[in-house]
């Protein structure tokens, strides 16, 4: 697995590179967008994942993201400082896969990378259509949901929302993305629709809606459906 790490702080860059190398990843590092562009242009082998730090000396990475999205479905994880809220959300809306707020732990980073890589695998082959976690089973093909083996009745909108989250299970989906994909582009400001329907979904699927295990909230950003139990994706680093 080849990873491009875009980070201008030398210490952090070295620490992350060592940690990732220890996990078996081949790590390329760049300290600026220009350097990253050069690396991408001349890379002999294709990359599998990009870790993109916001606040690079020569830009915020939006353009790089657009380039990457045009070229291939290369997963991009955004590493951001807490204050860069708006920028982070813009990148997620523009198609970045997930984000981590600095300072983050290596375990957290590895977990996010694993989800992103698995999703890339499914994007190439078949998308995840059968989601199981704890007592909940969601079958997108059959459009059925079970909890503790008993069928759960969902309204069409509830199901559409849930299905959208299943397709990106384990990753954050922004409010805007959810509203656009479930209700339509003209509803992207109607965040209160999401609050209502997520509340309904939690009431139907969670044991303790105030402490969800499945339908997780990322305040100010969006929602994340917890990773499914089984881990079918190709996980072995090359």
């Amino acid at each position: 697995m080849r990873v491009l790490l875009l980070e201008d702080d030398r210490e952090l860059c070295r620490t992350l590179r060592d940690a990732l190398t220890m996990e078996g990843y081949a790590v390329l590092t760049a300290a600026s967008l220009a350097e990253a562009n050069a690396l991408l242009a001349h890379a002999r082998e294709p990359l599998d994942l990009v870790l993109l730090d916001l606040g690079l000396p020569d830009g915020d990475g939006e353009q790089l993201l657009a380039t990457l999205r045009r070229r291939e479905s290369l997963p991009v994880l955004v590493l951001s400082a807490r204050q860069a809220e708006g920028q982070k959300i813009r990148l997620l809306d523009a198609g970045a896969d997930d984000y981590l707020v600095k300072p983050f732990g290596v375990a957290e980073l590895l977990a996010r990378m694993r989800v992103a890589l698995r999703r890339r695998g499914t994007r190439v082959s078949a998308a995840l259509t059968d989601y199981r976690r704890a007592a909940v089973h969601i079958d997108l093909h059959a459009q059925r949901v079970w909890r503790d083996g008993a069928p759960v009745h969902l309204t069409p909108t509830e199901f559409a929302l849930l299905a959208r989250l299943v397709r990106q299970a384990g990753q954050v989906v922004t409010h805007r993305q959810l509203l656009r994909d479930v209700w339509g582009a003209e509803f992207t400001e109607h965040t209160h629709y999401l609050r209502l329907y997520m509340g309904q979904l939690r009431a139907k699927l969670e044991d303790e809606p105030a402490e969800p295990r499945l339908l997780l909230t990322e305040p100010g950003v969006g929602y994340r459906l917890a990773e499914p139990d089984e881990d079918p994706g190709p996980l072995m680093p090359s």
Partner: protein, 513 residues
């Protein structure tokens, strides 16, 4: 009083009317007594009437009317009657004496009256200055009295008056926003006003500066600064130095008052600056102090890993690594809080508000607390059917996160910590409650201040900026954060947020399904 100074021309004649009946009465008396008393006595009667008339007439008019009366006396009463011919031996002396006495009486009376008038005017001007001074002395904002000054000047001079009063410092170039303008000066006058304001000297006829101008420009002078200017339209054409000095005194009183308020304001500003400087220094000192503890732990653990790591067993290494991670997390939280406090403190801070569900925010905070301390019993209780909140979810999450962290830190390890959300009329209450030692009454308000904390040994609540940022977040949302002691021990921190009219629900009926 105000109209006094205008009474230079017409009203003097208005006041003179009693002279006419006096002369008439004199003439009648002369006609009646003619032939009964001798000519010398009649002459005394005429002198008396003339003196009386002079009481009301201006000096020259008194003298003139007296002269006319003597001529008439000569014509009607002095033999040979019906001619101006005079018997030089008999009557010439009488007539000349009458003329001279009349003239002297008229002049004396006129002077006396002029002096009295001037004394009265002085007294009234002095009273005017005193009353104006009184008005300004108690004025919070002398600018509000600019209209009164215009009226005063206008009444005292009888001219149209326009003012320019500085609001704050004198701008580099004429700037209408920097001044209060009263009245409507024309273009030349506006330029003149700015010139006068800048020079701080009176301009116009009699002042020795720009004497060709038809108008008077009077500065409002404070100590070493000019804070305004007035123009008296056309008054320079009738120069009157005494009046100008009076008007100047009125203007200078205004200048003095403006200066007083300005120096008060500057003093206040300087004091505030000094205070915020002190606060900032205290803040920095306290931040450095607070950062030192986790930094010391990290330094200790990391350096011992570096120096002795090879000789340690796996468990020891893991323990050190964990304490580094924990203290780094603490540092991160402190940094978040400090940054947020600075951001919320800045003027015009923009919140990223949206419709948020209390359940979701509480859920996120709970998940975070579990990650930090899985063993602790943090519970959440939410009233059913809570309305949506219009708030910045990240900030409210930060607020609750800080409160939960505090509650966990300051209560026994086995004591429960609760998050409670309920509706209270048009407000929503987010409470974090613990069963710790509570907060001593003396500290209940102070713990919300930046870098206040209870006595180190007894109380360690509210350390650093944590509670200060919580309160700042609540207030930025138009709400409040308060502390309530619990009846059976412990503290309840309650964030009260106002509710807004909820948005329209999504169309369709499936929401009820």
């Amino acid at each position: 009083m105000d109209s006094l100074d205008v009474s230079r021309g017409e009203s003097r004649w208005r006041d003179a009317w009693p002279a006419v009946p006096t002369w008439c009465a004199g003439a009648l008396a002369l006609a009646a007594l003619d032939g009964r008393v001798d000519l010398a006595n009649l002459a005394m009667l005429l002198v008396l009437a003339s003196a009386l008339a002079s009481l009301w007439l201006p000096a020259w008019a008194g003298a003139a009317s007296g002269a006319l009366a003597v001529l008439a006396f000569n014509w009607f009463l002095v033999p040979p009657r019906g001619t101006f011919a005079v018997d030089l031996r008999q009557h010439a002396l009488l007539l000349v004496a009458m003329l001279v006495v009349n003239a002297i009486v008229a002049t004396l009376m006129g002077n006396l009256r002029r002096q009295a008038r001037s004394a009265r005017r002085h007294a009234q001007r002095a009273e005017q200055l005193r009353a104006w001074g009184e008005t300004l002395r108690d004025a919070e904002d002398p600018l509000a009295h600019a209209g009164s000054l215009q009226q005063l000047l206008s009444a005292a001079s009888g001219d149209a008056v326009a003012l320019l009063v500085l609001r704050d410092a004198l701008p580099e170039t004429p700037d209408e926003a920097a001044v209060l303008r009263v009245g409507t000066p024309d273009g030349d006058q506006a330029v003149g006003l700015w010139h006068c304001l800048r020079q701080g000297e009176p301009l116009g006829p009699g002042t020795g500066r720009h004497a060709g101008q038809p108008d008077w420009y009077l500065p409002m002078r404070g100590r070493g600064a000019c804070l305004g200017a007035a123009v008296l339209r056309g008054h320079g054409l009738r120069p009157d130095d005494v009046l100008r000095e009076h008007l100047q005194a009125l203007c200078d009183q205004m200048g003095g008052a403006l200066q007083r308020v300005r120096s008060q304001r500057e003093e206040h500003r300087a004091r505030e600056l000094a205070q915020s400087q002190t606060l900032r220094n205290a803040l920095l000192a306290a931040i450095s102090h607070d950062y030192r503890t986790p930094l010391a732990t990290i330094m200790g653990a990391a350096s011992s890993l570096e120096a002795q790591g090879a000789r340690m067993d796996a468990a020891q290494r893991e323990r050190l690594a964990r304490s580094i991670v924990e203290e780094a997390t603490r540092l991160a939280r402190m940094t978040d809080n400090t940054l947020q406090l600075a951001r919320l403190d800045a003027p015009g801070v923009a919140l990223r508000c949206d419709w948020e569900s209390a359940e979701e925010i509480v859920g996120a905070v709970l998940a975070h607390a579990r990650r930090q301390d899985a063993a602790r019993r943090v519970r959440a209780r939410l009233e059913p059917d809570l309305p949506l909140l219009w708030c910045d979810a990240l900030l409210i999450a930060q607020l609750l996160d800080n409160l939960v962290d505090n509650a966990l830190k300051y209560s026994p390890a086995d004591a429960p910590v609760e998050m409670l959300v309920r509706r209270e009329g048009e407000r929503i209450v987010l409470a974090v409650r613990d069963r710790g030692p509570g907060v001593a009454p003396a500290w209940r308000e102070r713990i919300f201040e930046v870098f206040q904390r209870g006595e180190e040994t007894v109380q360690r609540r509210g350390a650093g900026v944590g509670l200060a940022v919580c309160r700042a977040i609540a207030r930025a949302h138009g709400g409040e954060l308060r502390l309530r002691p619990r009846s059976r021990g412990g503290a309840s921190f309650e964030c009260v947020l106002p509710l807004r009219e909820p948005p329209a629900p999504p169309p369709g009926t499936e929401a009820a399904a």
